[in-house]
């Protein structure tokens, strides 16, 4: 029996994000949202472990209340119960403040053998919540895990680093951040989706956790956003075209030599 909690973020689907070409502002209002990709890998891994060893799989999310729809997908995948920690005062929280809220929520939900997070979120990609949470909870951390195995009270993980792959062991409870390589997340069946509607999503506000307003939102954040703009992409976009592949290639070769980017 293993008790696992996954921290799930409702992220903006970055592949469908558009920007206003004149102002370079992102059109965030109607951008679709979904469970952040690597969090789905964390969900799959947790559910897989539960199927093998038995136990309970819960999720915690700090998000606006509209995240309920997104969380149904986690429940359909096989999560037993989800916690949504939602309060207008959390708006504009950075990772310092968000990790504080998550840590307070986890302490209230209970004790866990494993806490899983994605290696980073697809929208902000800062890879900080997992490490910050491990520090706040005072438990061992294993980042960038691409393989997990449980043995008694120990968890072993293979980590993919730049210059090596490292196998590490730690005594549970452990917080682990997982990469995309760890598994292929399942697509829930129709039955599972139907069943998910009967599962519980607990909604907590700041007051339920005794969180004061000065520790969250802009006031409780250490980093302040000045602006968010689409990057400038100024490219020449010159079309090279010849009668034959040979002619096209020759024109291109000449253009590259003229640019001074080939040859010595």
């Amino acid at each position: 029996m293993v008790r696992i909690l996954i921290c799930v973020k409702q992220a903006i689907d970055v592949s469908q994000l558009k920007a206003d070409s004149a102002t370079r502002h992102l059109i965030l209002a109607d951008a679709p949202k979904k469970i952040s990709d690597f969090d789905k890998n964390a969900l799959e891994e947790a559910i897989h472990i539960k199927e093998k060893l038995g136990g309970e799989v819960l999720t915690a999310t700090v998000c606006p209340e509209d995240a309920k729809t997104t969380l149904r997908e986690a429940l359909a995948m096989g999560v037993d119960k989800s916690y949504l920690i939602s309060d207008p005062i959390f708006e504009n929280s950075d990772t310092l403040a968000t990790s504080y809220v998550l840590a307070e929520a986890i302490k209230k939900i209970g004790d866990f053998d494993l806490i899983l997070c994605g290696e980073a979120s697809i929208d902000s990609f800062s890879a900080q919540i997992g490490p910050r949470l491990a520090e706040r909870l005072g438990i061992p951390l294993i980042t960038y895990a691409r393989k997990l195995s449980l043995e008694g009270e120990t968890v072993a993980a293979e980590r993919g680093l730049e210059d090596c792959s490292e196998t590490v062991k730690a005594k549970m409870p452990v917080l682990i951040t997982v990469t995309k390589e760890i598994n292929e997340p399942r697509t829930p069946s129709y039955m599972a989706i139907m069943k998910a509607f009967k599962k519980e999503i607990v909604v907590w506000k700041a007051a339920d956790l005794g969180i004061p307003s000065e520790k969250v939102g802009e006031a409780g954040s250490a980093v302040q956003v000045l602006d968010v703009l689409a990057p400038k992409m100024e490219r020449k976009k010159i079309v090279i075209k010849g009668e034959t592949a040979k002619e096209t290639a020759e024109k291109l070769a000449k253009a590259l030599i003229q640019e001074g980017v080939v040859g010595r």
């Binding site: 250490a222 000045l226 290639a249």
Partner: protein, 326 residues
């Protein structure tokens, strides 16, 4: 409360990256009119510390301890936490390796401060504030942020900033710190398998030829290899070829290698934002694709609509001829 912090500290366990941090660090130190110091952690690493003296750092802070012989997070983290608490820098630069990013986030948690990872630009504005820029939304946007806490912890990616131009042996000194309490590791490393790293790193190549799903077989990469040979460049791949087809273990893109060569020739790649974010600083981009509507075409300097299986070998021939005759 903020004013008690001064100076810049730089640390990376990666020996190339620390020189890049010192390069950017010296520039910032002169703008901020403050001192730059490098941190070296390890065992029997006095020579390494001495070598760093002069690379733009006025001081090299050394913690030399048998418990730091191998990189283990908790002892390294506790050493850095104590150095920061003692020296109170206003800015701490860390190399954006996976180890470095974990250190940075945990350090920020321990000190209860902010941390901005993978900064592509750091500037001082007219109010003297440090502005940091990074890519978010999968490459769709650049966010500019400022800190409200100090030390400001920032991680810098590889190959983004020039290495320090100063030479070893310049003015400066090694300061050894011995009164540091090191925490034991919380996880035990049971096995390490080194990954074979290509001798020339793709980040350092002047010319890169990128191949994507438009290549049908792994063997077909030989036409890209041939072009790379003619140009003295290197071949790179997209994430689907590495992850879905398992042909390779590395890829170019936001989650893999970020490159900025003089010339990037990209063949059979549609140009998802994840890939584009990893190549956007290339000087000249040439896109070769059958599909004139592929997003990659929108961000190329030279666009060729055609079959890469015909164009690439013809391009190798043409370049061979033209370059050979000059």
């Amino acid at each position: 409360m903020l004013s008690e912090h001064s100076g810049i500290l730089a640390y990376s366990e990666n020996k190339d990256l620390i020189l890049e941090l010192l390069g950017k660090g010296s520039e910032l130190a002169s703008k901020m009119d403050t001192e730059l110091a490098a941190v070296v952690l390890g065992h029997d690493v006095k020579d390494q510390a001495k070598e760093l003296v002069g690379y733009g750092a006025q001081k090299v802070i050394l913690v030399d301890n048998p418990q730091l012989k191998e990189f283990r997070v908790e002892p390294y983290l506790s050493a850095l936490t104590q150095l920061i608490q003692k020296r109170k820098p206003e800015l701490f630069l860390i190399g954006s390796t996976k180890r470095g990013k974990e250190l940075a986030a945990r350090l920020a948690a321990r000190l209860n401060v902010g941390c901005v990872p993978d900064c592509l630009e750091l500037k001082i504005d007219d109010q003297g504030r440090l502005l940091v820029e990074r890519i978010v939304y999968g490459g769709n946007a650049v966010v500019t942020q400022v800190f409200r806490t100090k030390p400001q912890i920032v991680t810098l990616p590889r190959r983004r900033f020039e290495k320090s131009e100063c030479k070893a042996g310049g003015p400066g000194e090694v300061v050894e710190v011995s009164d540091v309490q090191l925490e034991p590791p919380k996880a035990e490393v049971v096995e390490i398998k080194p990954i074979e790293i290509a001798e020339t790193k793709i980040e350092e190549a002047r010319v890169v030829i990128g191949g994507g799903r438009g290549l049908d077989k792994k063997e077909d990469f030989k036409i890209l290899d041939e072009l790379a040979q003619v140009l003295g460049g290197q071949v790179g791949y997209t994430r689907p070829l590495a992850e879905d087809r398992k042909w390779f273990t590395e890829w170019i893109g936001l989650s893999g290698h970020t490159i900025k060569p003089e010339l990037y020739i990209v063949c059979g790649v549609s140009g998802v934002i994840q890939h584009v974010a990893g190549i956007r600083d290339s000087k000249i981009i040439v896109a070769i694709n059958k599909d004139p509507e592929a997003p990659i075409m929108e961000m190329a300097d030279y666009i060729v609509v055609g079959d890469l299986y015909e164009i690439i070998p013809a391009l190798s021939d043409a370049l061979r001829k033209l370059l050979g005759s000059t």
